[in-house]
């Protein structure tokens, strides 16, 4: 795997702790994410990976710790601010808008870039239409990129699982994010679908320079495409480094790789 050009630290998580009542989801976790890199988070189920993403984009508010995003320290993120700042994500359990078509789902990803308001929308002809068309053009690019032209008018609820995952990626991409958080984008896919998804992720990273934080269970994929890996177990960080370092880390082997296979 060719070494990518990764830049400065764009996101720095310092001593994050999060608990729900008695359940400690994250304990004192620190790691950073550099611009343009693919950063993987791995760990067994319940390790706190999804919670970590939720902290990054403000769905969960940690009790302790600091989040430094683009040099600005914060105690917690807020979903709206995170979206505005260019953080987009997909979810472990597909969170598409079931009643809407593929096209409309991806169009929602453009929402922060749309200036129109409900009055202009009601009149439609004029500014609203111009904007709709302009954003539609952008969305069609994404549809082409993800190779889902043939289903663009289909309600997402009717699509097979693999396509739904792709549409969700499309919705996130539509925001033209600077950081993309992907929560198990390949879970439940067959080998072919996984290969497609890997290709998309690498292309996004390559072509748009998007920084990617990726949760994935498939070790082969993780070792292949990521630049650096964080390993969580029971809410604690037990490893952090390049795929090679992780492969040889004794704690990780004991706690995770040993258990998994």
């Amino acid at each position: 795997m060719a070494q990518r050009q990764s830049g400065d630290v764009i996101l720095d998580l310092q001593k994050i702790s999060l608990h729900f009542g008695g359940v400690k989801a994250l304990t004192d976790i620190s790691f950073d994410v550099r611009e343009h890199e693919i950063r993987a988070i791995i760990g067994p189920n319940g390790a706190g990976k999804s919670s970590m993403l939720n902290v990054i984009n403000g769905v969960y508010h940690p009790q302790e710790g600091t989040i430094v995003f683009r040099g600005k320290p914060r105690h917690e993120m807020d979903t709206y601010q995170a979206a505005k700042a260019g953080i987009a994500r997909t979810f472990q359990n597909i969170a598409l808008f079931k009643g809407m078509s593929v096209l409309d789902n991806i169009m929602t990803g453009r929402n922060l870039k749309i200036r129109s308001n409900f009055l202009l929308d009601a009149i439609y002809w004029g500014p609203a239409q111009r904007e709709e068309i302009e954003h539609r053009r952008k969305v069609e690019e994404i549809i082409d990129f993800l190779e889902i032209q043939h289903i663009r008018k289909t309600p997402v609820g009717r699509l097979p699982y693999g396509f739904q995952k792709r549409v969700e990626l499309g919705r996130a991409l539509a925001a033209e994010p600077s950081i993309l958080l992907l929560d198990e984008p390949m879970a439940g896919m067959n080998v072919e679908e996984k290969q497609d998804m890997c290709r998309f992720i690498l292309d996004v990273n390559d072509q748009f320079g998007t920084t990617i934080v990726l949760i994935e269970h498939d070790m082969g994929v993780v070792m292949d495409i990521s630049d650096r890996v964080v390993v969580l177990d029971y809410g604690k960080k037990i490893g952090d480094g390049t795929p090679d370092e992780i492969r040889n880390n004794q704690d990780v082997i004991n706690a995770y790789l040993g258990v998994a296979h």
């Binding site: 729900f20 939720n54 769905v59 979810f91 359990n93 969170a95």
Partner: protein, 297 residues
């Protein structure tokens, strides 16, 4: 002070009636996750059927068990026709379907028994209890006391049913975990029929008590509207919540009507419970006794 006590007690006694209707809601919600808007219609239907049979010449002792039978048949029909096809649908769909059920049951009741008000004589007069009037100077209706007594027995009986019988324990299990209930060996469908049947029984008792006092009429369906704030207050899944909530709503609406009503032109009983419940809801969305839910994604 005596007047205040009188208002308070009167309110509490009405509140017990609300509790009873709310109880029907809680039973069904706990066991099947359905918010049964039709509970009020069931109260109306049950009372009207019992009184209708009575008017045909049957003694009350025969009419009431017969009505109970009808309520069980109704429960079975609802389970089979309405609930079974809608398993795993969103709660809001189930809620809307019970609004349809409300209209259907109300129409059915009137189609069979006519729309006129029927009187129900239970042999207890709605007059102040003389003993209390003489000793404490408080006027409390004898009828209300008897009704409260019956309601109390009913609630106690249900509590026993839930904790002591096998079926009752299965019902509680189903509320917590459908899988667990299946392992007890009672099919889910059967449990639903039982729950709706029990709710029908509660409706029958509530309907007879309300009906004996105000006549059996369409207005009975409106008690269900009073039960909603009770549930918001008490939580949808809590039997003690329904009882305490009913008492609070009953007492506070009376107090508000008597002390606040004159300043604003009266008639605030209609909405006061809602506003009270709403303010409460904003502060504590899970109700007095409900469990807190954390949203996940």
């Amino acid at each position: 002070m005596q007047f205040f006590l009188e208002v308070l007690l009167g309110g509490l006694l009405t509140g017990i009636m609300y509790s009873m209707v709310a109880l029907g809601f809680v039973l069904i919600y706990k066991a099947s996750g359905v918010f049964n808007f039709a509970q009020g219609a069931m109260v109306f239907f049950a009372a009207l059927t019992a009184v209708g049979l009575h008017d045909l010449g049957l003694s009350l002792w025969l009419a009431i068990p017969l009505t109970m039978l009808v309520m069980i048949v109704l429960a079975m029909a609802i389970e089979k026709i309405v609930l079974r096809p809608l398993v795993n649908q969103p709660e809001i769909t189930l809620f809307m379907v019970t609004i349809g059920l409300t209209f259907f049951i109300e129409g059915l009741a009137q189609a069979i028994w006519g729309a006129s008000v029927r009187k129900l004589e239970m042999g207890i007069d709605d007059v102040p209890l003389e003993y209390l009037l003489d000793t404490l100077g408080i006027a409390i209706s004898q009828f209300d006391l008897v009704a409260a007594g019956i309601a109390f027995v009913l609630v106690a009986g249900l509590a026993m049913f839930f904790s002591k019988t096998k079926v009752g324990r299965a019902l509680r299990a189903v509320a917590d975990d459908h899988q667990a209930a299946l392992s007890i060996g009672i099919p889910l469908q059967q449990i639903w029929v039982i729950v709706w049947g029990v709710a029908g029984f509660v409706a029958l008792v509530a309907g007879l008590l309300w009906g004996a006092r105000n006549g059996v009429q369409f207005a009975l369906t409106f008690v269900a509207l009073k039960a909603l704030p009770v549930l918001i207050l008490g939580g949808f899944t809590s039997v003690p919540g329904a009882i305490v909530g009913g008492l609070i709503i009953g007492a506070s609406e009376k107090i508000a009507e008597v002390y606040l009503g004159p300043y604003v032109g009266g008639g605030i009983e209609g909405w006061f419970p809602y506003v009270l419940a709403l303010l409460f809801l904003l502060a504590r969305p899970e109700g007095l006794f409900g469990e807190k839910i954390i949203r996940r994604i």
